[in-house]
């Protein structure tokens, strides 16, 4: 079983997202540790891209804060190394394909494996375009996390059939950002996915309240929170760790408990 599949074993997972190097390297380390202490089962680290087409304003602004302090992939690998001294919380990167392409697929995945980054979420790499990266990622035991969206329809089977790690279920159309209501019939979407795979599912895009965590946690194997956490980082600057820990605790507590545990 992959590192990531273990995240979902016998529990509903809370997954938090921060942009790496927002607002600086030390804070990122503290923030990731705080999320883990608060109960996050997995942390996604965003690697900023100049043109984040899948992201809303909150994450775009976080990217700009990171650029201001000179973020680069190598600096982010150093941040990961520092995180690894403090916590063993599973990590994945979220970034755009050009960043990985320019670094070199082999070199990038090799460093991920070495530093214990277990997966990659790449919003601009759909199923059709994963063939160049997939064998290399597999060689280094890095899972490529596929995304399924409300419009995936007949594509779901091929996307999820051989998926490893987990499946990122996009709750709504459009870009990242908090939403008050999610209109998609997620129950049905998850049912469709489960026809073809046992790989765990986690719902993201728009999730921010404990009520949502409890509701969506009943449907999927985990929930992903991005913009709401990044907003806390924006609010608290270099001192966001306590707020993040508290938030993670609240969200984790709201998730349903599996009776088999």
């Amino acid at each position: 079983m992959s590192e990531l599949a273990k995240v979902f074993q016998n529990k509903k997972a809370f997954i938090g997202f921060v942009v790496a190097d927002d607002p600086d390297a030390d804070s990122t380390v503290k923030n990731v540790v705080a999320l883990a202490e608060g109960g996050a089962d997995l942390v996604e680290l965003g690697i900023p891209f100049s043109d984040p087409v899948a992201d809303g304003p909150v994450i775009q602004e976080a990217d700009l804060r990171a650029f201001k302090v000179g973020v680069t992939p190598d600096k982010i690998f150093e941040i990961v190394a520092a995180i690894r001294k403090e916590t063993a919380v599973p990590l994945v990167f979220l970034t755009y394909l050009n960043i990985v392409f320019k670094y070199g697929y082999d070199k990038f995945c090799a460093r991920c494996q070495k530093l214990g980054v277990s997966g990659l979420i790449i919003p601009d790499m759909p199923y059709e375009e994963k063939d160049d990266l997939a064998p290399i990622a597999a060689k280094y035991a890095v899972d490529l996390i596929p995304l399924v969206t409300p419009t995936s329809g007949h594509r779901i089977e091929k996307i999820v059939k051989h998926a490893t790690g987990f499946i990122y279920v996009v709750s709504s159309m459009g870009v990242t950002g908090t939403r008050n209501t999610i209109k998609t019939d997620l129950h049905q979407l998850i049912q469709q996915i489960r026809q073809y795979t046992d790989t765990p599912t986690a719902i993201g895009f728009g999730v921010h309240t404990p009520e949502q965590a409890s509701e969506l946690g009943a449907i999927a194997d985990g929930v992903i929170v991005g913009s709401a956490i990044v907003k806390l980082v924006a609010q608290h600057g270099t001192n966001a760790a306590p707020a993040l820990k508290k938030y993670a605790q609240e969200m984790k507590a709201a998730l349903p408990v599996l009776s088999a545990e």
């Binding site: 100049s50 050009n98 960043i99 320019k102 199923y127 409300p150 995936s152 996307i159």
Partner: protein, 398 residues
């Protein structure tokens, strides 16, 4: 061809690097386009609109004074500036809007740089009774105010995009985001031969009318193929449309003129194929101006229609194979050419097209008098008059 290419690939370039949210829609567009392409009804409607609404076929004009003055090759201009709305953009918009109608869409969105593509899209939306929203970088809404007002007159809503460097690439980002949040009733009319498959192919096909006409016109006029085709390259739609019917004629040299801004060797440039490297952005693998980490550069050109950090995948492949050559033309050279063609031929050409004219000025004198260059005038220059005046330090109090 030795190896069967994956669909939507030009050599190593092309593809569909786009969020999953849009993939089902792209599949639908591709299927519908392939049907439409072979549907005589669709082709008939397309041709009818091109001829009776957009004023095709466009003239192939022999620029005798300029040919004599430069003292070399005979220069012919393919006059896309005479199309309705004043540029080649309408050819592509009519095609895509017909496709949007076939898909049952009621709303068109588009990005625009110089405003020409936005104007063309707003025009066809008005004609088809569709609603229309245009995304334009704030830098460009400032320097192309006239076109902003034209779009509004045509009933479109213009969004001034303030993210990133506030130019064309940022307008594309914003339009893609809007599209991803509302695919049901909305068609994204991409304005150049860029983006995920099938857009580069579709835009090429719709713009190929330029070279289909030009080929027949020059054969009729001179009885032989031209020696060179010259066109400006932003994303590459007028250039690929000008090249398409000549690609299999090895004797015809194909030359694309990119905007070098303040110089190919400065960081104030948009000369993608001279300075860029392979990358993945805006749905395609192609050549981009970017740093070594893959962050896309801010680019610069006096021309709002050419300052794009990438280029269509087919151009990247034509460049890699050597079938076409790409050259950089600076702001200074383009502005000189803008004035030169006005004074020698009485044509005020778009600043984008003036980049191609500038290269013709360089190459024609080195050629024989019996040789022929076809240069595509992609658009007319009324929209640029104010900014050229400003460039020359003249305040015309707009």
């Amino acid at each position: 061809m030795i190896e069967k290419q994956k669909k939507g690939r030009y050599g190593i370039y092309g593809g569909q690097y786009i969020p999953e949210t849009l993939m089902t829609e792209l599949e639908r567009i591709e299927t519908t386009y392939n049907e439409a392409k072979n549907d005589p009804e669709f082709q008939k409607e397309l041709t009818d609109l091109l001829n009776n609404y957009a004023n095709r076929p466009s003239l192939l004009y022999h620029a005798k004074r300029m040919s004599d003055d430069l003292g070399g090759a005979q220069i012919y201009f393919k006059r896309e500036d005479l199309n309705h709305t004043g540029a080649h953009k309408i050819n592509n918009v009519i095609g895509q809007a017909l496709l949007a109608k076939r898909l049952g869409k009621t709303r068109l969105i588009a990005e625009t740089g110089a405003g020409q593509h936005g104007v063309a899209t707003a025009t066809i939306a008005a004609l088809f009774g569709m609603s229309c929203e245009i995304y334009m970088g704030k830098m460009d809404t400032d320097r192309q105010k006239l076109n902003v007002y034209r779009m509004e007159l045509l009933g479109a809503k213009v969004h001034s995009v303030t993210s990133g460097s506030m130019v064309l690439k940022d307008a594309i980002n914003a339009a893609m985001q809007e599209w991803a949040s509302r695919v049901d009733d909305t068609f994204y009319v991409i304005g150049s031969a860029v983006g995920p498959h099938p857009f580069p192919e579709m835009v090429r096909d719709f713009q190929s009318v330029i070279s289909r006409e030009a080929r027949a016109q020059i054969l009729k006029e001179t009885g032989k193929l031209p020696d060179a085709i010259v066109a400006c390259v932003g994303g590459g739609s007028n250039a690929i449309g000008s090249f398409a019917e000549f690609i299999n004629d090895p004797s015809v040299q194909l030359i694309g003129c990119e905007a070098a801004g303040r110089g190919v060797d400065t960081d104030q440039t948009a000369a993608t194929l001279e300075r860029g490297s392979t990358g993945i952005f805006h749905g395609m693998k192609s050549v981009f101006l970017q740093d070594k980490f893959g962050q896309i550069d801010k680019v610069y050109s006096i021309s709002a229609g050419l300052d794009y950090p990438g280029v269509g995948p087919e151009h990247a492949a034509l460049n890699a194979s050597g079938r076409a050559q790409y050259v950089g033309i600076t702001d200074d050279e383009a502005v000189d050419a803008f004035e030169y063609i006005a004074k020698t031929e009485g044509i005020i050409a778009a600043i984008e097209s003036s980049h191609a004219v500038a290269y013709v000025e360089k190459m024609a004198p080195k050629m024989r008098k019996d040789q022929v260059i076809i240069c595509t005038l992609s658009g007319r220059g009324d929209k640029d008059v104010a900014s050229i005046a400003k460039y020359r330090g003249v305040d015309i109090n707009e």
